[in-house]
Amino acid sequence: MTKYLVKRFIAMLITLWLIITLTFFLMHALPGSPFNEERSTSEAVQRNLEAHFNLDKPVPVQYIEYLKSVIQFDFGPSIKKSSQTVNELLGRGFPVSFELGLVTLTVAILSGITLGVLAALRHNGIIDYMAMTIAVLGISIPNFVFATLLIQQVAVNWELLPVATWKSWRHMVLPTLALATGPMAIIARLTRSSMLEVLTQDYILTAKAKGLTPAKIVLKHALKNALLPVVTVLGSLAAGILTGTFVIEKIFAIPGMGKYFVDSINNRDYPVIMGTTIFYSTLLIFLLFLVDVAYGLLDPRIKLHRKEAK
């Protein structure tokens, strides 16, 4: 187990290093400098600006400097929003995005599992067809399309909920709904198919023979085993929700990290793009790592050090 964890951890570090390097050199491959549009700046000002942002040194030196600061979790100053560091932006935007992401993930998991279980228990019944219709639609409709449709119908035509911003729980309903539908659909489909498989197993028959209540059979014996495949996709679902926050925060004008990220892309604010990308990647890769470990712990049949034993 420890050996496996160490191995996985090293692989994680390599992936992170790859991302930092890739991000750094991609940003430096960009044509032009971020100060190009300010034509009024004189030669001297231009040079001072470049010195301030470390842009006057040769690229390898800049790369080493950047690596050093990233290891200390310092992403440097923003170029476009003067007197603001990337860390400050992250500190301000991330809690909002984190809230949105967490609520979305919770809603998606709970409703997805419920829908999947109901569909499996009523296999080929009306509930099953309804649940699977919702699931197929949820996978097919892009989240940003769903978000705009929600604004148009619920917020503008019916005036039930506020159109944008992030203040009370009423503001949270539409963004969460728009963001959660896709992951919910995926979870529902997975839960359904693995529930259907588990329900045919012998130990379910044993549980029935023992005279357990249906609720106990489903919740304690079937669902526990059926949820394993769901755990494996949690990492990629979190990634989907995370990238989803870019568009959702843009659409609903939520002051989160995703909105800053999109703004920084449109402004070509390199330090912010780099910092956010690295921050997000670290988060996601760490999450994938956790999911892997959790999977090993949840399923006693899977021993994490199996590969070494061979």
Partner: protein
């Protein structure tokens, strides 16, 4: 309890008539009564029975047809601006209405269909070429080479797909080919993993060994012996790659780093429609939203149907 007894007595009475020796006709045993059903014929037959997948297939054919002929049958061009005809609702003149620059939404919708379908199909093809080659070599060669090739794939697999796509699209000149390039950088990884797993399984079968003893070249073994037997999962994977590529393109265009104006993409049309939905101009959003969802729906249900149809375990 009574049923078996009844059957037994019945059986005894008909026993003699049942067991009359059959006249032997020379050569009859060798004739094949029914034509043998090949894997692909069988899969096709099962796909035909899957109603949802058939709906997807028909929708796709219609969408492709409209992508080809939509811009031709439209009386207006997708980029022609008529400033007197801004934001008109759908009418007999402009079937899907017009946008804020007086451009015909019908023509733009089908121009967008061309771009979406093109991006999806080309991205899937590139994934296919790179993924199958990489996965095929890694799986067939095995050993150290496989180990290192797969470590590399694992590292790429850890990269968040859309973040990489965004990053690359920011750096490259925005446009159709940048998007496809960005989508292909990490897109092939899933295909490579799948093909490798399949090849690893099949390469131990006797017919591969037979081929090897004849001295067949490695590339030929991979192409002629291994790949045809993994074609089922490969096709399913490709069908499911297309909607994710279409989604990624629309996502980028929606953020403004994808397809650039005056070209139309469903993503950028939805993005442009965002400010005007408050004023009730529903058609600006509805048509691109509807058709992108329909396209993704069709590919998804067709992919699911193919998955069931091509699964040899479900073959009867």
């Amino acid at each position: 309890m009574e049923a078996p007894k009844q059957q037994e007595s019945k059986r005894a009475s008909v026993m003699d008539e049942w067991f009359v020796p059959k006249k032997r006709i020379l050569g009859e045993a060798e004739t094949v009564i029914r034509p043998s059903v090949s894997y692909w014929k069988d899969a096709w037959r099962r796909l035909l029975k899957n109603k949802l997948a058939m709906v997807g297939l028909v929708c796709l054919i219609l969408l492709i047809f409209m992508a080809i002929f939509g811009p031709i049958i439209s009386p207006h061009s997708a980029t022609h601006q008529v400033l007197q005809q801004q934001n008109l609702p759908p009418s007999s003149e402009h079937w899907f209405g017009t946008d804020e620059l007086g451009r015909d939404v019908f023509a733009r919708t089908w121009e967008g269909a061309r771009i979406s379908l093109f991006v999806g199909v080309v991205a899937a093809l590139i994934d296919f070429i790179i993924g199958v080659t990489y996965g095929g070599i890694a799986g067939y060669k095995g050993g150290k080479l496989d180990h290192y090739m797969m470590r590399f794939v694992e590292i790429l697999y850890g990269l968040p797909y859309l973040l990489v796509v965004i990053l690359v699209s920011v750096v490259l000149e925005p446009g159709l080919f940048s998007i496809i390039f960005a989508l292909s950088i990490t897109g092939w990884v899933g295909m490579a993993r799948m093909v490798r797993g399949q090849v690893l399984q099949i390469k131990n079968y006797e017919f591969v060994l037979a081929s090897q003893t004849f001295g067949t070249k490695t590339s030929r073994i991979i192409r002629r012996n291994l790949l045809p037997n993994t074609m089922g999962p490969i096709i399913v994977q490709m069908t499911l790659t297309v909607p994710s590529a279409i989604f990624a393109e629309a996502f980028l265009s929606f953020l403004g780093i994808g397809i650039q104006p005056p070209l139309a993409s469903w993503g950028s049309m939805a993005s442009d429609a965002l400010p005007v939905i408050l004023s009730g101009d529903w058609w600006r959003l509805f048509f691109p939203a509807f058709f992108i969802s329909l396209t993704m729906f069709s590919f998804n249900v067709l992919g699911d149907g193919l998955q069931d149809a091509l699964d040899p375990k479900l073959r009867r």
